[in-house]
């Protein structure tokens, strides 16, 4: 029986990209549907009535929401190929902890860089740099956060990498200057086909951010 897999997403969303990436890692065929977030489809509102957000994975008519929950679901259902979460429970807990950290801290601090100006923007920049330094520390000397293999935490963070150029340009700073090892890791991940085809082009992300800045009157 063939699986029916549909992804409701938005091209520039770093959260949506995580799901695209997990599906690509597992070689799963799916139907991609781009949502216009200013005019959400009835299907999106039906499938995610609680948050009304993307991404939503619809697997055999059943919806799963929240990007990290979706990635774990994908890993558990299609478990025979490219495992994403570590097999050891302690390593799994650590991977979940840092993915949660990314969602709680990085998204907000990154957002301050492009959504605000003046003091708030500078504070966002400072926080963002602190956050990525911590993550670089977690990476250490390993090729991937998952160790020798690309894994869950790599999936959680690499999609933010597509937004780095936008953060740097709007924020007027260099991430490489602060975290050279992290940038090396980003480039290494981009060599994977699943990653390069799932992430939005950083220059296009920047154009998108500029458009949003204009829209929200942050100039």
């Amino acid at each position: 029986m063939a699986d029916e897999v549909i992804l409701l997403d938005a091209h520039y969303s770093m959260f949506g990209m995580r799901v695209r990436l997990a599906l690509a890692e597992k070689g799963i065929e799916y139907e991609y549907r781009e949502e216009n977030l200013a005019n959400k489809s009835p299907l999106l509102l039906e499938m995610n009535p609680v948050h009304k957000k993307i991404p939503v994975l619809i697997h055999n008519k059943k919806p799963i929401c929240e990007s990290l929950i979706i990635v774990q679901y994908i890993d558990e259902v299609w478990k025979d190929k490219s495992p994403l979460l570590p097999s050891d429970p302690y390593q799994r807990a650590q991977a979940r902890f840092w993915a949660d950290f990314i969602d709680k801290k990085m998204y907000e601090s990154g957002g301050k860089i492009w959504k605000t100006k003046g003091e708030e923007k500078e504070a966002g920049k400072k926080e963002f740099i602190e956050n990525i330094k911590l993550l670089e520390g977690v990476l250490g000397e390993k090729p991937y956060f998952g160790g020798e293999e690309f894994g869950y935490l790599d999936v959680a963070l690499i999609t933010f990498y597509s937004w780095f150029y936008a953060y740097e340009t709007v924020g007027e700073f260099s991430i490489e200057q602060h975290c050279p090892k992290l940038i090396e890791w980003g480039k290494r991940c981009m060599e994977r086909e699943s990653v390069s085809k799932s992430l939005a082009d950083p220059h296009k992300v920047y154009d998108f951010v500029l458009m949003l800045r204009k829209k929200y009157g942050v100039e």
Partner: protein
């Protein structure tokens, strides 16, 4: 030396959640009560990122964040399952825990602890959000089905703490009229043996929470 240690706070629902999970699995552990206004060097060592309780220490390795700790407990020890086995049910359980922690619980806390307009707005928001849980519990004894599961454990704030808060603040948010199914769940939940023995006494909890509702309170306020 105890193999399993828990740094917690008896008044914290997050901390009590982990205790419930450990007890469900029959895990022996050493409990260390933290004074949150004066955190111990050990807590800061084991959770340098968030500096919060609960922190589980298993064979000297720390794990932080209550829902992450609970999944770790479920995966490490035998005994009744805390998470469902089916991947879709697991995803739904994780979804509801996140909803309770990041949306519902936050709004409910703000409805109590935030003054003026912010509090009023939070009340309206909480009223809307609780409807989703009312719908989800319909026809079920517990969120986990016949037995207490991850979502029930995570909903301890709603099941117990919020009842006390409503009394202190004179709030009428979670009522039998508006949320009959959810209130029925509350009754079953707080009388369940696993839950009953893992709650801070009502009078002590009231004592701790009362000052937080006073305008102009500037003492320690737990961060949501």
């Amino acid at each position: 030396m105890a193999e399993v240690k828990l740094f917690g706070c008896g008044y914290s629902p997050f901390s009590r959640r982990v205790e419930m999970a450990l007890k469900l699995k029959g895990v022996e552990y050493e409990y260390i009560e933290e004074d949150l206004s004066n955190k111990s060097p050990l807590l800061l060592k084991y959770n340098p990122i968030h500096k919060k309780v609960p922190v589980l220490l298993h064979n000297d390795k720390p794990i932080a964040e209550s829902s992450i700790i609970i999944e770790y407990i479920d995966e490490t020890w035998e005994g009744p399952s805390i998470l469902p086995k089916d991947p879709y049910e697991r995803a739904m359980a994780r979804f509801w825990v996140k909803f309770i922690d990041e949306k519902c619980g936050v709004a409910m806390w703000k409805a109590f602890a935030s003054p003026g307009e912010e509090g009023e707005k939070a009340k309206e928001e909480a009223a809307q959000l609780l409807k989703f849980l009312e719908e989800e519990i319909k026809g079920k004894k517990f969120f986990g089905g016949e037995n207490i599961g991850l979502v029930d454990i995570a909903a301890n704030f709603i099941g117990y703490w919020f009842g006390i808060i409503q009394q202190i603040a004179g709030l009428e948010l979670l009522t039998k009229e508006k949320y009959p199914n959810l209130c029925k769940w509350v009754d079953g939940y707080i009388n369940h043996s696993l839950v009953k023995d893992n709650l801070p006494p009502k009078d002590k909890m009231t004592e701790v929470l009362k000052p937080l509702a006073q305008p102009g309170y500037s003492g320690y306020k737990p961060k949501v």
